[in-house]
Amino acid sequence: MSAPIKVTLNGAPREFPAPLTFTQLLDELALAGRRFAVERNGEIVPRSRFAEARLADGDRIEVVIAVGGG
């Protein structure tokens, strides 16, 4: 059993069991059916990479959606 992965998710520290793909992370966040975008350390993670791309210790992850605004 490997050590948990520590990431910063939308500004808050979180730990997840390793290994962790973006698909697994997003399943945890219950975003199914929603439109959202994911950024890792300032770079977009394209949808096509969710299944294979793994999170690494120290990653800064942003998950964003569209909200009301002018």
């Binding site: 975008a37 300032g42 394209p46 959606i65 569209a66 909200v67 009301g68 002018g70």
Partner: protein
């Protein structure tokens, strides 16, 4: 009238009123107000999702589906070109390749006045990355011209401060921009009530973008309808061509001849 379309980035729109989606009581009021406005282009902001707190709740894009509206993601809250570009890259990902965006880079939190050097820098990057940029700007004709030259698809000068409802404070500057810039000019920010929107359109603006004037009216749905009518009325008046102003010359509308009290 049906042939009088607003063309933005080559795409025609029947409505010249663009509306924001912020500051409403709830999604139901948002939906009803936007329907009443007749707007086809609606702005949205990009924000962090509340992790684990929104399962099962409707999302804005379910209330305002991109199949029905042209979604215009904005960069509200960004103070640097870098943050604005980053936000719109995320927006493009959310909207699956969508290119039309509203760029606004703010200068300070008190006035929400645009930071034009940062806006120009962001516009340059975004245009190079294939975005179709509608840029919020000050009412400076030189800045508007530079945004056009950088490849922005529309320039959107403020009428007055964002959310102030103070109306059009400098119609003469807007007129200079309208006369000099070839891309659509939309007044963005400062509209307070229907007459402000009508005046913007009578000046020759191609459209008006507003949020607070509708959302913070006592009856937002009714104000949305008022704004729709005002934009249409102002546009029609502009196209009709108003009569000349003659400050020292009265002219009766009724015939001067045939008065009964005149003796033959």
């Amino acid at each position: 009238m049906s042939t009088d379309k607003l063309i933005v980035a080559g795409k025609p729109y029947g409505s010249r009123l663009l509306v924001g989606t912020g500051k409403y009581r709830d999604f139901d009021e948002t939906r009803r107000a936007i329907e009443a406005s007749g707007a086809e282009i609606v702005t949205v902001a990009i924000r962090r999702t509340n992790i684990g707190q929104n399962a099962g709740e409707p999302s804005l894009l379910e209330v305002l589906p991109p199949s029905k509206y042209t979604i215009l993601p904005n960069t509200a809250g960004c103070y640097t070109a870098q943050d604005a570009v980053r936000t719109l890259r995320l927006a493009r990902e959310i909207l699956e390749g969508h290119a039309l965006v509203k760029l606004e880079v703010l200068g300070d939190a008190q006035s929400l006045y645009p930071n034009m050097p940062e806006t120009l820098a962001a516009a340059k990057t975004l245009v190079a990355e294939g975005f179709q940029v509608m840029a919020y700007c000050n009412d400076d004709p030189i800045m508007a011209k530079q945004l056009e030259e950088l490849g922005c698809v529309a320039v959107m000068p403020l009428a007055s401060l964002i959310g102030s409802g103070m109306g059009i404070l400098n119609p003469w500057n807007l007129k200079i921009i309208i006369d000099r810039v070839r891309v659509p000019v939309l007044v963005d920010a400062g509209i307070g009530t229907a007459s402000d929107a009508a005046i913007a359109m009578e000046l020759g603006c191609d459209g008006v973008l507003m949020n607070t004037a509708i959302a913070k009216a006592k009856d937002p749905v009714r104000m949305a309808r008022a704004m729709k009518l005002a934009v249409e009325a102002g546009r029609e008046a502009f196209l009709a061509g108003r009569m000349a102003k003659k400050p020292y010359e009265a002219s009766p509308s009724s015939p001067e001849g045939g008065l009964i009290q005149k003796s033959a």
